[in-house]
């Protein structure tokens, strides 16, 4: 929600302007110059997401063969991170974004609608940072918000297509692919939609080491190995049979969504460049 911050900033400015206007009523339109706000002391971090198959980065929709010998084409991968915080050397935290949405699909230049990407950036005060932590999904206190009250560009707007209309909640992770599990054609659909407050997960604190001066730019990568999602020790998913879930409907759907979520979150890694 970069936008949210921008709005708050604009609102803040408007408030200041309004107060100035009110206190110096007669000066309206011909008052003396107002001191411009000091440029804030901030640095910028870019966080990009990579889906990998072993050591190679996965390209959207391009066929690849996983460690089980199944072939897949990735059609959709979108997910929310929320309450993104950076941990300072003294253990205190700095919230940098309330909600971000990653979409693995490359930008379609023919559309002039808001689109999300594999990359988000945010600003934060300069300083020394030793960790990063986030939630995967949307926390319960905002999961019941009304998407129509957000601007189109906001990841929580109806436009991000993450909203579950019938249940009035957000989906957390959407993964869709078509697969060849041994038949010789891509006739096996993978369709995983997760959601529900029960499947909100908080990541561990990933260690990083960033000393940011004002104006610095840093890059972090969030990576995930496709094989870790499905073939995790003790929680593997039998892709031949277990490949469709909307989380709700049946207990089996929930169990699959739950295992998928846990593997997904456990598989996430943070790399510092």
């Amino acid at each position: 929600m970069q936008l949210k911050q921008t709005y708050q900033w604009i609102t803040g400015l408007t408030l200041v302007a309004a107060l100035v206007a009110l206190t110096s009523f007669s000066g309206c339109g011909n008052g003396g110059p107002i001191d411009p706000p000091k440029p804030p002391d901030v640095a910028e971090i870019t966080l990009s997401f990579d889906l990998e198959n072993g050591s190679e980065e996965l390209a959207f929709q391009a066929p690849f063969t996983d460690v089980m010998g199944y072939q897949h084409r990735l059609l959709t991968l979108k997910f929310y991170l929320s309450n993104l915080v950076l941990v300072k050397a003294d253990g205190s935290t700095e919230e940098v974004d309330e909600v971000v949405l990653f979409d693995y699909k490359p930008i379609d230049p023919s559309l002039n609608n808001p689109q999300w990407t594999r990359e988000v950036s945010f600003t934060l005060p300069s300083g020394d940072y030793t960790g990063i932590q986030f939630g995967v999904g949307i926390p319960a206190d905002i999961n019941d918000e009304d998407p129509t009250t957000y601007a189109n560009e906001d990841p929580l707007s109806a436009f991000s297509n993450m909203y579950w209309n019938w249940a009035t909640m957000y989906r957390f992770i959407i993964l869709e692919a078509e697969s060849d599990t041994g038949t010789g054609s891509f006739d096996h659909d993978i369709l995983i939609h997760t959601g529900l407050d029960d499947l909100y997960r908080t990541s561990p604190v990933y260690p990083i080491s960033l000393s940011l001066a004002s104006g610095d730019q840093a890059a972090l990568t969030l990576s995930l190995d496709w094989n870790d999602i499905w073939y995790a020790e003790g929680a593997s998913i039998l892709l031949k049979e277990e490949h469709i879930t909307h989380t709700t409907d049946t207990q089996e759907d929930f169990d699959l969504a739950s295992r998928f979520t846990d593997n997904f979150v456990a598989g996430l890694k943070i790399n510092q460049e």
């Binding site: 929600m1 936008l3 949210k4 709005y7 708050q8 604009i10 609102t11 408007t14 408030l15 302007a17 309004a18 206007a21 009110l22 009523f25 309206c28 339109g29 609608n113 019941d144 918000e145 009304d146 998407p147 129509t148 009250t149 957000y150 601007a151 189109n152 906001d154 707007s157 109806a158 436009f159 297509n161 909203y163 209309n165 019938w166 249940a167 009035t168 709700t248 409907d249 049946t250 207990q251 929930f254």
Partner: protein, 342 residues
């Protein structure tokens, strides 16, 4: 962002007040906007409950009119073929004659379309009751694959290409069609679908001749401890709006409330429907499985399908023929003039 938006409007107003010379033009606009905002006075019958109107969606005459136009406009669906009214027919108390409704390109929904008469009094929406407001409910048919199959932002873009709509939205909201304004307008119109003019209402208001003797017998049965219908279909709206199991064997594809809670004990539970205009809204139940009210009465008479989770109030009733007639006659007394599109 919602909250900050409110603050933004407030500060803008303060600014307008403060800097009158510079912003005369803007102020004028503000005034015209307010003049157009004639409040819509809801005609709520004296024996009906109050209606809760969300703070962000006050009813105005122009907004209700715009909402009505949108409700009947098929251009809200992806291929321009289906409007809200396609499945919510005004002559059928805004329900559908099909067991399960049909959306764009003949796609079949999984459920029967409920009546929208008096919908503004409901505290929850949809048959598993997961939707808390009429505003949010609009998203469901608009984006549902088997209903209008559109995307709300694209639907708004299409509306904004139409100069008449653009002007109407501007007039009502001071902005173009957006997911926010579109859902507010339609919900505002839906809140005006108020009846309260059935013979049953006249009877409740003291006219003891408004119901025939047979209808009065039916009403007495309906509220009797023996039948206990009114323990679920309660109050003037004839619904508790709770999620209950009325003894229907659920279909595998629709576990009702359990879809939301994943709790086996909720399988087969559905929102208790209002029975107002029930004679107009065949077929019945969430999947339209009963074509007639006779069939519904038979279901309750035999004590339901005898399935797990069935409520204990659903038990064999051994109704006499005249008692069935009386119930049917009572149902006829629940028809509102406005439910027939009059």
């Amino acid at each position: 962002m919602k909250k900050t938006f409110g603050a933004f409007v407030l500060t803008s107003v303060l600014l307008l007040v403060a800097c009158s010379t510079e912003t005369e033009q803007k102020e004028d606009n503000l005034v015209t906007l307010q003049e157009n905002h004639v409040p819509f006075e809801l005609a709520i019958p004296s024996h009906f409950p109050d209606m809760v109107i969300p703070k962000d969606n006050p009813l105005t005459v122009a907004k209700v009119e715009l909402g009505k136009q949108l409700f009947f406009d098929p251009s809200l669906s992806v291929d321009g073929s289906v409007s809200c009214a396609s499945c919510h027919l005004p002559s059928k108390a805004f329900s559908d004659v099909l067991a399960v409704s049909q959306g764009v390109k003949g796609a079949v929904t999984e459920r029967n379309s409920p009546s929208l008469m008096n919908i503004g009094f409901h505290p929850i929406f949809m048959r598993e009751g997961a939707v808390p407001t009429l505003e949010l409910q609009v998203l469901s048919p608009l984006e549902g694959e088997t209903e209008m199959a559109h995307n709300i932002v694209l639907a708004c873009e299409r509306l904004n290409q139409d100069s008449t709509y653009r002007a109407r939205f501007q007039e009502v909201f001071g902005q173009s069609a957006t997911p926010f304004t579109l859902t507010r307008a339609i919900a505002a119109y839906e809140r005006t679908l108020i009846g309260g003019d059935a013979p049953f209402d006249a009877y409740l208001l003291g006219d003891s001749t408004a119901l025939t003797p047979l209808q009065q017998q039916g009403y007495a049965l309906f509220t009797s401890d023996r039948l206990a219908c009114s323990s679920c279909h309660s109050g003037v709206l004839l619904s508790s709006f709770a999620l209950e199991h009325n003894g229907l064997k659920p279909r595998d594809t629709d576990p009702g409330l359990m879809r939301l809670t994943l709790n086996e004990a909720d399988r087969g539970k559905f929102k208790v429907p209002s029975l107002r205009n029930i004679a107009l809204t065949a077929p019945y139940m969430h999947d339209g499985r009963f074509a007639s009210l006779e069939a519904v009465i038979e279901h309750y008479n035999k004590g339901g399908d005898g399935v797990t989770n069935q409520d204990e109030r659903i038990r064999s009733l051994s109704l006499q023929e005249d008692e069935k007639e009386a119930l049917l006659a009572f149902f006829d007394a629940l028809t509102e003039a406005s439910g027939k599109g009059e």
